[in-house]
C-alpha cells in the first residue's frame, strides 16, 4: 500500500508539474524548451570556446553556478507556501499542499515532491544543459564521459540548491530567522576558507573536478541530510504575524513628481514591502558588477586583450533592466487595475516611471562604481554610460513588448524566450565583443558605440509604444 501510494503520488506530482508548465506556456512550446536550451547552450559553448573568450572549464564552472541559483529559486517557489506560490504562479493548489484535506502525511508529500523535482529537472533541464558541451567534445576539448559526469554533478548541484532553500525555509517556519541561517552559513564558509579547507572540493563542482572519496561522500550525504532536516521541521501552516504599517502611500506619492499617478506609488510600495525590499534590486546589480569585472579580467588573462571596461561593463550592467522590471511587475497583474478607470496605457506609463526611477539610477550608480574601480578612459566611460542607459531602455521595451506585465512567466515559453534571447543578444554581444576588441579605443569608434546606445534607446521607445495596443487587445479577449 505504502509503495503503491508513493508511486501514485510521484506520478501524480510529475504529471502536475508538467501540466502546470504546459498550462502556463503551452504544451508544445514547453516541450520544445529542452531542445532550445540544448541549441542555445551548444551555440554558446561553440562560440565562446572558438573565439577563446572562455575555456571549457570556465563554462563548466558557470553552468554549476547557474544551476545552483536555479535550484535555490525552485526551492523558494515550491516551499514558501501556497500563498507565495499563488502570487507567482496564479491560483492553483498543488498536491504537496493536500495534507490538510487527505489522509496523507505532510512528510511523505514533501519527500515525494523532492524526488519528483530531482527526476523532472534532471531530465528536462540538466540533460540538455550537459549535452550543450557536445561541440567541446567534437573539438577534442572534453571527453565524452565528462558530459555524463557533468549531467550528474549539475543535477547534484541543482538538488543541493533546492535542499539548502528547503531546509532554510523549514527552519524559518519554526521561528529560526532566515538572516540567522544565512549568517551561520556565511560564518561557516568564511571559517572554512580561513582555516585552509578547500571549500570547492566539498561541492558538486569539486566532484566534477575530481574530488577525493571523503569530499564526494560529504557532498552526496549533505543533500539527503538537508532534505531530511527540512521534512522533519517543515510547518506547512506557518504564517507570519499580521504586519501593520504607517501611511507610506501618501509619502511616496508626495515625493514623486506626478502626484496623480497612483500606480507608480503603489508599485514602489509593492517592491519595498515584499521580501528583500528595494535591496533585492541593489543585490541584482552587485551580482552583474561582479560578473562583469570577472569576465573582463578573464578575457584579459585568456585572450591577452585589454578590453574597454566602460563599454563592456555598461552593457553587462544594462542587463539588470530585466530583473528590475520583473520585480516591478511581480506583485500585481493587469486584471486588478480593471476595477478602476485605468487602461493598459496608464499601467504601462506607471511601470515605465517606476522603472526610470529605480532601475536607471541603480544601474548608473553601479556603473559609476565600476568606472571608479576599472579606470576607463574618459571617452570609454562616456560611451559606456550611454550604452548602459540605452540598453536599459531597450531591454525595458523588449520585455514589455514580448512579455507584457508577466516577464517572470515567459522564461520557459520556448518561442518567447528564443525571441527575447535574440533581441538581447543582437545588440549586447556585438557591444561586449567590441568592448573587448577596441581596447582603449579611438574616440571615433567609441562615439560609434555610443550612437548605437542612443539607437537602442529609441528602439526601446518604439517597442513600448507598440506594446500598449498589443496588450490592450490581448488582455481583453
Amino acid at each position: 500500500m505504502t509503495g503503491s501510494l508513493n508511486r501514485r503520488l510521484f506520478v501524480g506530482m510529475l504529471r502536475e508539474e508538467w501540466r502546470m508548465h504546459a498550462n502556463l506556456f503551452g504544451g508544445a512550446r514547453f516541450a520544445a524548451f529542452p531542445l532550445f536550451v540544448l541549441a542555445l547552450g551548444a551555440g554558446a559553448v561553440w562560440l565562446l570556446t572558438t573565439t577563446a573568450v572562455a575555456t571549457v572549464s570556465t563554462l563548466v564552472l558557470g553552468v554549476h553556478a547557474l544551476v545552483f541559483a536555479f535550484g535555490l529559486q525552485t526551492g523558494t517557489t515550491a516551499f514558501l507556501g501556497r500563498d507565495a506560490a499563488r502570487n507567482l504562479l496564479g491560483d492553483m493548489t498543488l498536491l504537496v499542499f493536500t495534507a490538510r484535506t487527505l489522509p496523507v502525511s505532510q512528510r511523505r508529500l514533501l519527500a515525494v515532491f523532492l524526488l519528483k523535482d530531482a527526476v523532472y529537472y534532471s531530465g528536462l533541464f540538466m540533460v540538455p544543459m550537459a549535452l550543450s558541451f557536445t561541440p567541446a567534445v567534437a573539438a577534442g576539448q572534453l571527453a565524452a564521459s565528462d558530459v555524463a559526469l557533468l549531467w550528474g554533478t549539475a543535477t547534484t548541484t541543482f538538488l543541493l540548491g533546492v535542499a539548502v532553500t528547503f531546509a532554510g525555509i523549514s527552519l524559518a517556519t519554526r521561528g529560526v530567522s532566515g538572516r540567522v541561517v544565512a549568517l551561520a552559513l556565511g560564518v561557516g564558509l568564511a571559517a572554512a576558507v580561513v582555516s585552509g579547507i578547500d571549500v570547492v572540493g566539498y561541492t558538486p563542482y569539486g566532484i566534477y573536478q575530481g574530488a577525493t572519496v571523503v569530499e564526494t561522500t560529504v557532498v552526496l550525504a549533505a543533500i539527503p541530510l538537508l532534505a531530511v532536516l527540512g521534512i522533519a521541521v517543515y510547518d506547512p501552516n506557518y504564517s507570519t504575524p499580521a504586519r501593520t504599517a504607517g501611511d507610506a502611500y501618501g509619502r511616496w506619492r508626495d515625493r514623486l513628481p506626478f502626484r496623480d499617478d497612483a500606480v507608480t506609488a503603489k508599485t514602489l510600495i509593492d517592491v519595498s514591502r515584499s521580501s528583500g525590499g528595494l535591496f533585492k534590486i541593489v543585490f541584482s546589480g552587485s551580482i552583474l558588477l561582479a560578473v562583469g569585472v570577472f569576465l573582463l579580467e578573464l578575457a584579459g588573462e585568456i585572450a591577452s586583450v585589454d578590453p574597454a571596461p566602460g563599454v563592456t561593463l555598461g552593457a553587462i550592467l544594462g542587463l539588470s533592466a530585466f530583473t528590475t522590471y520583473n520585480w516591478l511587475t511581480q506583485f500585481d497583474d493587469l486584471d486588478e487595475y480593471r476595477l478602476y478607470p485605468l487602461d493598459v496605457a496608464d499601467v504601462l506609463r506607471a511601470k515605465r516611471r517606476a522603472f526610470l526611477l529605480v532601475s536607471v539610477p541603480t544601474g548608473v550608480g553601479f556603473y559609476a562604481l565600476a568606472v571608479a574601480w576599472q579606470s576607463p578612459t574618459v571617452w570609454d566611460a562616456l560611451a559606456g554610460v550611454v550604452v548602459h542607459v540605452g540598453l536599459q531602455v531597450y531591454l525595458f521595451g523588449v520585455t514589455v513588448y514580448l512579455a507584457g506585465f508577466s516577464p517572470n512567466e515567459f522564461l520557459f515559453d520556448t518561442v518567447l524566450f528564443a525571441a527575447f534571447t535574440l533581441a538581447v543578444a543582437g545588440p549586447v554581444v556585438p557591444i561586449v565583443v567590441a568592448g573587448f576588441v577596441v581596447s582603449a579605443g579611438t574616440p571615433a569608434v567609441l562615439a560609434g558605440i555610443a550612437v548605437g546606445g542612443v539607437v537602442l534607446a529609441l528602439a526601446g521607445g518604439v517597442l513600448v509604444r507598440r506594446a500598449t495596443p498589443k496588450w490592450e487587445r490581448a488582455t481583453r479577449t
Partner: protein, 248 residues
C-alpha cells in the same frame, strides 16, 4: 430609464460557450440579481459590462456608455466588486482607499469621511493599518466592498457580495444594498444564493447556458411560490434540454 442593457451578447472561450445570446435590460433604481448554476455565464456578463472583456458579438450599454469601446469611461462611473478579488497585497486598507481616491479623483477629506462610515458599518476600523496580505478573507472582502462604493457610483456590479462575511456583517451589507437601491442607484448582483436574491433583489434573472431563460420579481411571488422552485423549474428543464432528455 435604462441603466444597463445587453443585446445578443455572445462570448466563447475556445470550444466553451460562456454566453450564447444574452439580452437584458435593467432600469435605474433596480437591484437586479443574476442567478444561475456554475458556468452559467454570470461572471462573464459582469466582465463584459465592466469593460474587462470583449464579447465575440452583440452590444452592451452601461449608463449610456459602451463598455466595449469606452471601458475606462464606463469604469469611471461604476463600482465593481469581483468574486475572489483581494486588495493589493502590500498596501494597508488605509493606503488602498487613498489609492482608489487618487485613481477616482475623490478629494482626500471625502475619502476619509466615507472610509470612516464604512469601517463603522462593516466593523474593521482596527484593521486599517494592517498590510492586506495579512488580513483574513472576510476582512479583505470588507475592504473590497468599501472600494466598490467609495466614489458612490450610480451603478455597481457585485459578484457574490456576501462571500466570507459573518452573519452580522451579511445583514448589514444586505440592508445597505437595499438602501442604496432605494436612493435611486442601480445594482447588478451575481450570486448562487437564492435566498439572498429573494431577500434583496427587486428583480431576478435566471441565467443558464449563457442565456437569460426566466425573470421573476420576488415581490410578485405567490404565497406558495418560491424563487427556488422557479430556479429549479427553469434550470432543470434547460439542463435537460441541453442533454437532449426532453422532447420537443
Amino acid at each position: 430609464m435604462v441603466a444597463i442593457s445587453t443585446s445578443n451578447l455572445r462570448k466563447t472561450y475556445g470550444d466553451v460557450t460562456a454566453l450564447a445570446d444574452l439580452s437584458l435590460s435593467i432600469d435605474e433604481g433596480e437591484l437586479f440579481g443574476a442567478l444561475g448554476p456554475n458556468g452559467a455565464g454570470k461572471t462573464t456578463t459582469i466582465r463584459i459590462l465592466t469593460g474587462q472583456l470583449q464579447p465575440d458579438s452583440g452590444t452592451a450599454s452601461v449608463l449610456g456608455f459602451d463598455p466595449v469601446s469606452e471601458p475606462v469611461e464606463t469604469r469611471r462611473h461604476i463600482g465593481i466588486l469581483p468574486e475572489q478579488e483581494s486588495p493589493p497585497s502590500f498596501l494597508t486598507p488605509r493606503e488602498y482607499f487613498d489609492f482608489v481616491g487618487t485613481v477616482r479623483d475623490i478629494p482626500s477629506d471625502v475619502v476619509d469621511e466615507r472610509v470612516d462610515a464604512w469601517t463603522e458599518r462593516l466593523s474593521f476600523a482596527e484593521k486599517l493599518d494592517t498590510v492586506s496580505t495579512d488580513l483574513s478573507r472576510g476582512q479583505q472582502q470588507k475592504v473590497m466592498i468599501t472600494q466598490a462604493f467609495l466614489h458612490e457610483p450610480e451603478v455597481v456590479f457585485i459578484d457574490e457580495p456576501l462571500a466570507n462575511l459573518d452573519p452580522i456583517v451579511q445583514e448589514r451589507v444586505k440592508d445597505f444594498l437595499v438602501a442604496y437601491r432605494d436612493a435611486g442607484n442601480t445594482i447588478f448582483i451575481s450570486t448562487h444564493h437564492i435566498e439572498v436574491a429573494e431577500e434583496v433583489c427587486s428583480r431576478v434573472g435566471i441565467v443558464s447556458g449563457g442565456e437569460l431563460i426566466a425573470e421573476r420579481r420576488p415581490s410578485e411571488l405567490g404565497p406558495n411560490e418560491s424563487l427556488l422552485d422557479t430556479f429549479l423549474e427553469n434550470v432543470g428543464s434547460a439542463t435537460a434540454e441541453v442533454q437532449g432528455l426532453l422532447g420537443p
